[in-house]
């Protein structure tokens, strides 16, 4: 059996298994091109990596060097206590706002996603349309309205304000992606569970949850990353330096005359690494969620 299968292969490689076929050579050629493309996309982050380990003198040296002469790992320690910005507070802000925004968005989105996927009712279409329109709006365009609102409510310059903004503007992605996952679970599976004596809560927990889990994880991670990277609204709504997230704090290292680029890059690396890792986990569900099913 195996000899029958092996023979055609050896015929294809022209009798010499060590010599790659024309097709194989072409595929490795594509790999080389792919490597160059990868390098282009990684360039800014490689510059970041090299800069994060340079000393202050070295990073401002004219002309510059591509790599640090000595690798200054202490930048990652010293950046926490610089006069430019209270970095420990900034990291705490980013973490609290991201966790709070994600939790609130999920709490509001989960019941809506489940109900709209399971039931038909008159408000369904208008509701989903509203969700879709909100997905395309961003806090940037509403900055002045949000600022006025939070000043009136006396919650301007608080984490709560940014938690609300992040939750509201990411809610729609969460509703949309979880709705599409709930919709794929046949109603009959749930009904069978009820017949077998499951309560509604039990069937949700034991039957639905494992099936829609990838959708929930995608919603959580995407919302978390969006909150983590938010910049425009924080810039207007959080004037106090200890309240600002990493994205805004970062700009404080860049002065008109003196810039602490080594800290800019060290902060950027700890700001980027976790989200890239999380993003890679949900990549395959992102397109359908972001385009609201416009492309399959």
């Amino acid at each position: 059996m195996s000899t029958v299968l092996d023979r055609p292969t050896s015929v294809r490689t022209g009798g010499d298994p060590a010599r790659p076929t024309k097709r194989e050579r072409k595929r490795w050629g594509l790999t080389v091109v792919g490597g160059i493309v990868a390098l282009v996309f990684l360039t800014p982050y490689l510059i970041m990596l090299s800069g994060a380990f340079k000393s202050r003198q070295e990073i401002l040296k004219v002309p510059p060097e591509y790599l640090p002469g000595t690798w200054h790992f202490d930048n990652f320690v010293n950046m926490w206590g610089t006069p430019e910005t209270p970095l420990p507070h900034n990291l705490l802000s980013t973490v609290v706002i991201s966790l709070g925004g994600t939790a609130l968005a999920l709490l509001a989105a989960l019941p809506a996603a489940y109900y709209t996927a399971r039931h038909n009712f008159r408000l369904k279409l208008p509701f989903m349309l509203l969700v879709l329109v909100t997905q395309m709006l961003q806090p940037t365009v509403l900055a002045s309205g949000l600022f006025r609102e939070f000043v009136s409510l006396e919650i301007n310059d608080t984490w709560l304000a940014m938690i609300l903004v992040n939750a509201a503007f990411n809610l729609s992605f969460a509703v949309w992606i979880m709705h599409s996952f709930f919709a794929t679970v046949p109603k009959e599976i749930e009904e069978a569970a009820w017949l077998d004596g499951c309560s509604r809560g039990q069937s949700l927990r034991r039957i639905m949850l494992p099936l829609v889990w990838p959708g929930i994880v995608t919603a959580i991670i995407f919302t978390f990353i969006a909150c983590w990277n938010e910049f425009a609204a924080s810039l207007i709504l959080l004037p106090t330096d200890t309240n600002q997230p990493l994205t805004v704090a970062l700009t404080r290292f860049i002065g008109q005359y003196e810039s602490a680029w080594q800290y800019v890059f060290a902060v950027s690396i700890i700001g980027i690494l976790p989200v890239v890792a999380l993003f890679a986990m949900i990549e395959k569900h992102l397109v359908s969620g972001l385009t609201a099913g416009g492309v399959k």
Binding site: R27, L30, G34, A38, F41, L42, P44, Y45, I47, G51, V62, P63, P64, A108, P111, A112, Y115, T116, H119, F121, L123, K124, L125, L129, L130, V131, T134, L137, V141, L142, S144, G145, R148, E149, A167, A168, L171, I225, N229, F231, A232, T247, L250, I254, Q256, V264, S268, I272, V275, L278, F279, E283, V287, L290, T291, A292, G293, G294, V295, K296
Partner: protein, 305 residues
């Protein structure tokens, strides 16, 4: 008589299902109503009020804020910039994404790794990415400048971010860089919808590769391209961090779009009322684009069915 009662019963049933739905939708509705819709209204209201620099409401202003806005000297430049910025960035992004998606659709060793690499600029904070370019393009200590000199593209380091035109073009390049990943993945998703037998049929009919692409594949990519283009238009139009970090230090408004101008009016001039008027104009533009999206892409089809 019976039909009247039937109608009444039906109406009651419908009202009941709406009432049943409400508790499930309420948290989402409260959040959208309070943090998206209300600020829209408050912003429109503010655009007709007269506010002091410290935010004190000094009463009705009529059209004064809009008159001041349309009387701004830099406005014609800013509007031209906004058009160039939005359509320039989106057009180049889409063109590059078509090529890149076609490439990623081929099978070769390392394709999965390349896919992972391409998502980095998408996942990373845009402020952080554009800040690298601010450093790299510096004429004295910038590494990108050094690289361009070393490979002989330019003779000596150039202050890319020291004048408005070069700064604006550099910022556009960075905007393309951070927009390409998303668009590429959308086009890639579109390429999956092209059935294999259609491609084979074209080959059997003797179509060349170029012909197959333009006459078979490209037309089938239209829905994906419409989605990528419209979502990109909204994102690029709304983009603040790239221009803020890269050209924000250049005096004047020669490298501003309506979005960055609005932030300058809030932060530098502290005129929330005029900024609101400009935001209302921006908002109307976005609503128009969303309308186009609903009309062209028809994303609601699936929900309705």
């Amino acid at each position: 008589m019976a039909t009247a009662r039937n109608k009444a019963l039906k109406r009651q049933a419908r009202r009941q299902t709406t009432l049943q739905a409400l508790p499930w939708l309420l948290p989402a509705l409260v959040l959208i109503g309070g943090v998206v819709l209300f600020p829209v209204g408050y912003m429109i209201y503010t655009s007709f009020r007269d506010l002091s620099r410290f935010g004190k409401d000094r009463g009705w202003a009529g059209m004064e804020n809009y008159v001041r806005l349309f009387g701004l000297d830099p406005l014609p430049t800013v509007l031209t910039n906004t058009l160039v910025w939005t359509f320039g960035v989106v057009a180049v992004t889409i063109a590059l994404s078509l090529v890149l998606a076609q490439f990623l659709n081929k099978k070769f060793p390392g394709r999965k790794v390349l896919r992972m690499v391409i998502i980095v600029p998408w996942a990373a904070s845009v402020v952080m990415t554009s800040t690298v370019f601010v450093y790299g393009l510096d004429p004295f200590y910038g590494i990108i400048n050094k690289f361009l000199v070393d490979v002989g593209i330019i003779d000596e380091p150039y202050g890319f971010l020291k004048n408005a035109t070069a700064g604006f073009l550099s910022a556009m390049a960075v905007a393309v860089f951070v927009s390409v990943p998303f668009s590429t993945f959308v086009v890639l998703a579109g390429l999956q919808t092209v059935p294999h037998d259609v491609l084979e049929a074209a080959q059997i009919d003797g179509a060349g590769r170029f012909q197959t692409y333009w006459q078979v594949v490209f037309p089938m990519l239209r829905p994906a391209l419409a989605v990528a283009a419209i979502i990109n238009i909204i994102n690029v139009f709304n983009s603040l961090p790239i221009l803020k970090t890269m050209t924000g230090a250049i005096p004047g408004y020669d490298a501003d779009t309506t979005t960055t101008l609005m932030f300058k009016i809030i932060q530098n001039d502290r005129q929330i009322d005029t900024a609101s008027a400009l935001s209302v104009v921006n908002f109307l533009v976005i609503i128009l684009v969303i309308g186009l999206y609903l009309k062209i892409v028809k994303p609601m089809r699936e929900v309705a069915s």
